[in-house]
């Protein structure tokens, strides 16, 4: 059988799965009773509600027509997330200046039109701007250089 409204269906499935996951985890916490709510009480209710809403979305979507899943382009998504991960890993060992410059260069690959000169120019410019405004002017406590 073909699912008619792909977007709503998968959206519902996602919410259902998240709701159930929270309920499963909430079982480890004491539920308590209404008059003395334990740490598991509210999350359990919310998880059930979310799972229910997920079903309400997914089930009608099987028969009701709607949007098909939008196409994904992995390039911008993966490049930018990689850039941020690299920044997170390098920030403390290498210091802000190097990590920021690398962040910009990596993220530049998200756009195929970006020329290498632009990418490097941006890295220098934006790093300098951020150091000037955020660190020197506004006093954010960022380590600028590698910890030796």
């Amino acid at each position: 059988m073909r699912i008619r409204s792909q977007t709503d269906f998968w959206c519902g499935v996602l919410f259902f799965a998240i709701g159930i996951a929270f309920m499963v985890m909430a079982r480890n916490y004491r539920l308590g009773i209404a008059a003395r709510m334990g740490p598991g009480f509210f999350p359990m209710w919310l998880g059930g509600t979310l799972a229910g809403l997920g079903l309400l979305l997914a089930v009608p979507a099987i028969v009701r027509s709607g949007a098909t899943l939008p196409s994904l382009q992995p390039r911008p998504l993966l490049t930018i997330l990689t850039g941020i991960v690299v920044f997170a890993l390098l920030l403390q060992p290498l210091g802000f200046v190097a990590a920021a410059a690398i962040l910009i260069v990596v993220c530049g690959f998200a756009d195929p039109d970006m020329r290498p000169v632009e990418s490097i120019g941006l890295a220098i410019l934006l790093t300098a701007f951020s150091v000037g405004v955020f660190v020197i002017l506004l006093g954010l406590p960022l380590n600028l250089w590698p910890n030796l």
């Binding site: 959206c11 709510m37 930018i80 920021a100 910009i104 756009d111 039109d113 970006m114």
Partner: protein, 500 residues
């Protein structure tokens, strides 16, 4: 008179050289980042939040208010010049504003937007000053059940105003509430949903979530829609100051817009979006030549700009008096106050008058700076917009990363940013709007706590939620909102409204 002495106290707090400088820097940076296409006030406030951590509470709020107004005005600039609204509240401005820009009248449109914002902001600040203290007095009488139901009402408001499917919006609220459960349970000390990660003991980083969903996810989405953002033609500006005739023409539009915005801004979930849309619709109804609307009528810029700025001011009222945010930006403001060790609400407001009145005074100062800064600097913003998107998006990413990291100086928060960017992108693709989720995240722990207290007092009897008159009123109002949206006629109107 009481209010005069209070305002004097407020201006005494706000007008110090240091505060004026921070307010100015806030307005400038807010506008600068708000002008970047696709970046609205929420992402801007989240990015710049860490800048306020070392400041005293009053100065921090003054700077944040400046950032907020600046970001909103920056969004309008982008809307008018290149037809890319940064946030839903400037969608309406694109209708006539961008048409004016195409006709070579971008200057007067931008000038009128600044003037309308200033007039509306000044008047709405007075509204805040007049109505907050009595409201706070009332709020002191709220019991836990009343608070719980008020929050339900607020969340339903946010759901009703979200674009797209109602069921998705409700699910996003619930997901937000669930994410709010992550961290240490205040009552039992139990670590919930932390997977043993110490950094999660204090809960999900609010700023990381806001920036991931409103900033990074948006950038990724824009990079995919290649043609849409690439071809940006910035029109010429011409004179900026509107003529006296135009000012005269717009005077009543600004007044009506201010009134509508001030009222709707107070409503939970409403804020600037509903205000600007309603103001535009009203102008169209009362105007003598309504067919000009949509073809570059300057009243179509003045009214919604006045309304969204008035709404932006009055949305501070529920935040300051009740501690309940009416929109995601206010949720961030609450986050900022809590980092300063202040739990917003009636107690804080009545016990620390200097903070409250300082904020009120700085609202007006922020609006003044907005006007003074933007009339001369419009040219600079225009040139910034002429820069292709591929040279702008790395700046957005860098500011997001700095913002997220600086809150705790913990690289783990950056991994949270990655996770929420991916989640936000996925939800964006599935047609779910992030605003309800963010409100849920902030309100989650508070709602749990109030529900716990309400049920404790009633010995577990849930009817306490309907036997307390205030609580019953809020719940009925929430139900009314939900029902009204299920009625086909109104639903259609909402859909038309959201499409425009």
């Amino acid at each position: 008179m009481d209010i005069l002495s209070n305002l004097a106290l407020g201006f005494g707090v706000a007008i110090s050289l240091q505060n004026l400088i921070y307010c100015f820097v806030g307005v400038f940076l807010g506008t600068l980042i708000g002008v970047l296409p696709g970046i609205g006030p929420v992402a801007t406030v989240a990015m710049l939040l860490p800048l306020t951590f070392n400041l005293s509470p009053a100065t921090a709020m003054i700077m944040l208010a400046g950032i907020y107004y600046g970001a909103q005005y920056g969004g309008s600039t982008t809307a008018i010049l290149v037809n890319i609204p940064g946030e839903s509240s400037s969608v309406v401005t694109t209708i006539d504003g961008h048409r004016m820009a195409k006709q070579g009248r971008a200057g007067p449109a931008l000038g009128m937007a600044a003037i309308a914002s200033f007039v509306a902001g000044s008047l709405a600040t007075l509204v805040v000053a007049l109505f907050s203290p009595p409201l706070a007095e009332i709020a002191l009488k709220f019991g836990p059940a009343d608070y719980f139901s008020l929050m339900v009402f607020g969340l339903v408001g946010a759901v009703v105003l979200a674009r797209g499917s109602l069921r998705k919006a409700i699910a996003m609220v619930v997901l937000g509430l669930l994410l709010g459960m992550v961290g240490t349970d205040l009552n039992s000390g139990q670590q919930r949903f932390t997977f043993g990660i110490p950094a999660l003991a204090e809960g999900i980083s609010f700023a990381a979530l806001a920036m991931g969903m409103f900033g990074v996810a948006e950038v990724i989405y824009n990079l995919e829609q290649r043609a849409a953002v690439r071809q940006v033609n910035v029109p010429s500006i011409g004179r900026i100051l509107p003529t006296l005739a135009e000012l005269w023409q717009c005077m009543w539009s600004i007044m009506r817009g201010t009134g509508i915005g001030a009222v709707l801004g107070i409503l939970p979930g409403g804020g600037a979006l509903l205000a600007s849309f309603a103001a535009y619709t009203v102008e169209k109804k009362v105007a003598r030549a309504p067919k000009d609307f949509g073809n570059g009528d300057i009243r179509g810029v003045a009214a919604p700009e006045a309304a969204n700025n008035a709404g932006a001011q009055t949305s501070f009222i529920p935040m300051l008096t009740l501690g309940v945010p009416s929109n995601p930006t206010m949720a961030l403001m609450i986050g900022a106050l809590m980092i300063q060790g202040i739990q917003p609400g009636p107690q804080a407001m009545l016990q620390r008058p200097e903070l409250f009145w300082g904020i009120v005074a700085s609202m007006w100062i922020g609006n003044l700076f907005l006007l003074l800064l933007n009339l001369p600097l419009v040219g600079l913003w225009v040139r910034l917009l002429a820069v292709p998107y591929r040279l702008l998006f790395p700046a957005i990413l860098m500011f997001c990363c700095i913002g997220v990291y600086s809150i705790n100086n913990n690289p783990f928060d950056l991994f949270q940013l990655v996770v929420f960017s991916a989640l936000g992108y996925m939800l964006l693709k599935l047609g779910c709007e992030p605003a309800p989720l963010i409100l849920g995240l902030v309100l989650g722990p508070m709602m749990e706590e109030y529900l716990r207290r309400a049920l404790l007092i009633s010995l577990g009897d849930p009817t306490v939620l309907v036997t307390s008159p205030l609580s019953a009123f809020f719940l009925i109002a929430a139900l009314g909102l939900l029902v009204s949206i299920a009625v086909p006629a109104i639903r259609n109107q909402r859909e038309v409204a959201m499409k425009e």
